[in-house]
């Protein structure tokens, strides 16, 4: 048992923290939102310069060989800044799919470009009817000469609008909900038959609806084994759950700090509201939730590399419930203690609140994961 960071990890944490403090204030973020992509290509280049875009990839593919702890450190800072860039989509989600399922040729072709900031990916798996059921895939891939033809639709594809390539799941066999028969494909986002409708989520981050009509994918762009994509999809989602936990922790830290500051300066009845014990105890409750949420994020982070899939899934569900409930409590209380001003678009609090909400609804909400755990009670 050891909670210390290595020197390299501390260095990484410091450099990301510095970058975000210098370049990513709430006001500059407003400017970034005005960019057509909805995020800052300039900051994306800074991430590349710091080595963040190649962080979890192998060194022979232009990466830095970082693990889940390194990703956690980065995501926590991105969470603190409410960063808008497609880091989760490209590096954590689609990046994990390519890293785990991609051939050496595929990894060599893709990772150096990602690491240099020249390519963005998105993970197009979820479908409208599926809600959180990961085997509910209706998109089909049918065999044709030298490849496959994809038809179907993918929903709420995180940063799907600015991706250059999409990692798409489709059924090559089996009925809806069957665990077997799902295959992953690497698809050029501008390929004929791919249509994307981009939009903002509630937290101002970007997503897209993707429709696929007779999209031809050559055999060379199959990612991993045909019909056996599910274990990869599970691990992609697990990496996402761990990374979003770190983001939620970053967001909760800021919400707690802002609320604490506000309680020191906001005066009512002739004294700061933080002098009231009812407010003090609420802040203490928020702190306890934040710390429990942090513990659960550590659990998810450590579990990403757990070899036993059943244990891993269980840890991930526990973590998602734990940090999801913490984030909901902390973010709701932050608004409550700010009072009317907390309800405004002008203040950052509401933006963090909405990021927490989006995180909770990505890859299974609290009810979904609690039900999954309840099934396993024995």
């Amino acid at each position: 048992m050891d909670f210390d960071l290595s020197d390299d990890q501390r260095l990484l944490q410091d450099s990301v923290t510095r970058l975000m403090a210098d370049r990513y204030t709430f006001d500059t973020r407003k400017e970034f939102l005005k960019h057509p992509s909805g995020w800052s290509p300039d900051i994306w280049d800074r991430y590349a310069e710091l080595g963040l875009l190649g962080l979890p990839f192998a060194e022979q593919h232009g990466g830095f060989g970082g693990g889940p702890v390194e990703v956690m450190l980065v995501m926590q800072q991105l969470g603190r800044a409410l960063a808008l860039e497609p880091y989760l989509a490209t590096i954590v989600l689609a990046g994990t799919a390519v890293r785990l399922a991609g051939s050496d040729a595929q990894q060599s072709a893709i990772f150096p470009k990602i690491a240099e900031g020249r390519m963005k990916l998105a993970f197009a798996h979820g479908e409208r009817q599926a809600r959180y059921d990961i085997t509910d895939v209706l998109t089909t891939a049918k065999r044709n000469a030298g490849g496959w033809v994809l038809d179907g639709a993918k929903s709420v594809v995180l940063h799907g609008d600015s991706a250059d390539e999409l990692v798409i799941s489709a059924r090559t066999a089996g009925e809806r909900d069957a665990a077997a028969g799902i295959t992953l494909f690497l698809v050029d986002a501008s390929a004929p038959g791919v249509a994307r409708r981009g939009y903002a989520l509630r937290d101002e981050s970007r997503a897209a609806e993707v429709s696929l009509t007779g999209v031809h994918v050559p055999d060379a762009d199959v990612l991993g084994e045909v019909g056996n994509g599910l274990p990869i999809i599970e691990q992609v989602i697990e990496a996402g759950i761990a990374a979003m936990g770190a983001e939620a922790v970053g967001a909760m830290e800021v919400l707690h700090e802002m609320t604490l500051d506000y309680s020191r300066t906001r005066e009512q009845f002739g004294r700061p509201i933080g002098q009231n014990q009812v407010v003090q105890h609420r802040l203490a409750d928020m702190l306890m939730s934040l710390e429990q949420g942090r513990s659960m994020t550590m659990l998810a982070t450590m579990s990403v590399t757990e070899p036993d899939a059943t244990q891993r899934a269980r840890d991930m569900s526990m973590a998602k419930v734990g940090y999801g409930q913490a984030a909901r409590f902390v973010s709701q209380q932050a608004i409550q203690l700010h009072g009317g001003i907390g309800m405004t678009e002008e203040l950052a609090v509401g933006h963090y609140f909405r990021r927490c909400m989006v995180i909770e609804h990505t890859f299974g909400d609290t009810a979904f994961h609690l039900a999954r755990l309840a099934e396993q009670v024995e």
Binding site: M1, Q275, Q277, H281, Q292, V321, G322, L370
Partner: protein, 401 residues
């Protein structure tokens, strides 16, 4: 960063687990399994077995008869002991007075008391709270006037757990009523419970048990050499005692044991025509508890490993999180057991009935004891500094409001 136990820690855990399994007397284990609180003689018998192994004084240095464990090992030991349904070692002896004497005691006090405390040759109790000094401990009024090499103690203590079993009591008394700050007029005394002038009166708690007492001091003579640390510096000792390695207060192993017991019994009772364990709402309640216990477990690891690294021995304010969350879980898990017991949670006479039928009825006893611990552990969020006081501590120490 690595949440897993090291191979050494796993080997240690297995050693502790095997020792407890092989040495815990069967009759004690059976009573604990049925949910009874350990009797004094159960605690003494088990603690002496542990002491022969050198493990009873789990947080003492080797020099004074402890095993010299690091905080991680201590946590593993406490957790294993709780999960194994063994009596917990006497906290008054081991986590309270022992470390206090090691830190502040005179050589004579150490020689006289430490090894006897480890072996429970002396049973200790804690004389802190008073009718007018609960959460506001520093307002205590029990007085001690110095007369010819003695203190003469007058006053009243309350909520004194196990005072009726005790040979000795460590008592906070006011030696200077005129001190500028009330914390500066307090001293810490060791009082022989056989001294004339001491009266112990039982307080029966809502579970029907006699655990708590009032203790009255009427011109009780305490030799000056029974004072720990300097006169009027007793508050330092009390603070050290209350802040000393509080990670044990979460009693996570106990909550884990209670939830495991609830699940086991939920297989045997029915709900809507099926075993209760198959009910979706029940399973979800268990799942939520398991999530909360996991979060507490990791937070406890964090506090313990931070504690293992810092050498100044200052309590981590995060241990207040452990106290609040740990006691909430202790209460929720005993509540779960009581709810599993269902209508059998109500009868007060389960044991009586078993005796009348002339054959043991373990299910009925378990059910009755589930209610008993549910009732008694309402105290968990009150003792050891109420959970509201813990939030005050967090407000001051972490939020700095």
């Amino acid at each position: 960063m690595d949440l897993r136990f090291t191979p050494e820690e796993i080997a240690f855990r297995d050693e502790v687990r095997a020792f407890i399994r092989d040495h815990l007397p069967a009759d004690i284990h059976e009573r604990m399994r049925l949910g009874y609180s350990p009797r004094k003689e159960d605690t003494v018998r088990w603690q002496r077995i542990l002491n022969r192994k050198g493990w009873a004084a789990h947080n003492w240095p080797k020099e004074w008869g402890g095993p010299g464990w690091n905080p991680v090992q201590r946590m593993i030991f406490l957790n294993e002991n709780q999960q194994a349904q063994a009596p917990e070692v006497s906290s008054f002896a081991i986590t309270m007075i022992g470390p206090v004497l090691i830190q502040f005691g005179t050589d004579a006090q150490k020689q006289r008391f430490l090894s006897r405390a480890a072996n429970l040759d002396d049973w200790w109790c804690q004389g802190f709270s008073e009718p007018g000094a609960g959460s506001d401990l520093a307002s205590l009024k029990t007085s001690a006037k110095r007369v010819n090499g003695h203190y003469v103690v007058n006053g009243q203590k309350i909520w004194t757990s196990t005072a009726h079993h005790a040979d000795w009591c460590f008592v906070l008394v006011r030696t200077n009523p005129n001190a500028a700050k009330r914390q500066e007029g307090i001293s810490f005394l060791l009082v022989d419970m056989k001294t004339p002038g001491i009266t112990v009166r039982p307080i029966i708690s809502i579970d029907g048990s006699h655990h708590l007492n009032e203790v009255f001091f009427d011109d009780v003579k305490v030799p000056v050499e029974m004072r720990v640390h300097e006169e009027n510096r007793g508050w330092d000792v009390a603070k050290y005692l209350l802040g000393n390695e509080r990670t044990g207060i979460a009693r996570l192993g106990k909550s884990q044991e209670r939830v495991a017991a609830a699940k086991e019994h939920a297989r045997d009772v029915r709900f809507n025509g099926r075993p209760l364990i198959d009910d979706a709402a029940f399973r979800q309640r268990v799942a939520q508890l398991e999530v909360d216990m996991k979060a507490l477990e990791i937070t406890q690891y964090r506090v313990v490993s931070a504690y293992a690294k810092q050498r100044d021995g200052r309590p981590d304010p995060l241990s207040s999180v452990l106290k609040v969350k740990g006691t909430e879980l202790l209460q929720a898990s005993t509540e779960l057991c009581m709810d599993v017991a269902g209508p059998q949670a109500m009868p007060l006479w389960a044991q009586e009935l078993a005796e009348l039928a002339n054959e043991p009825d373990p299910e009925a006893e378990w059910a009755a004891q589930s209610t008993g611990s549910y009732l008694f552990l309402r105290a968990a969020s009150i003792y050891g500094g109420t959970n509201e006081i813990q939030k005050n501590i967090l407000t001051k120490a972490v939020l700095r409001l």
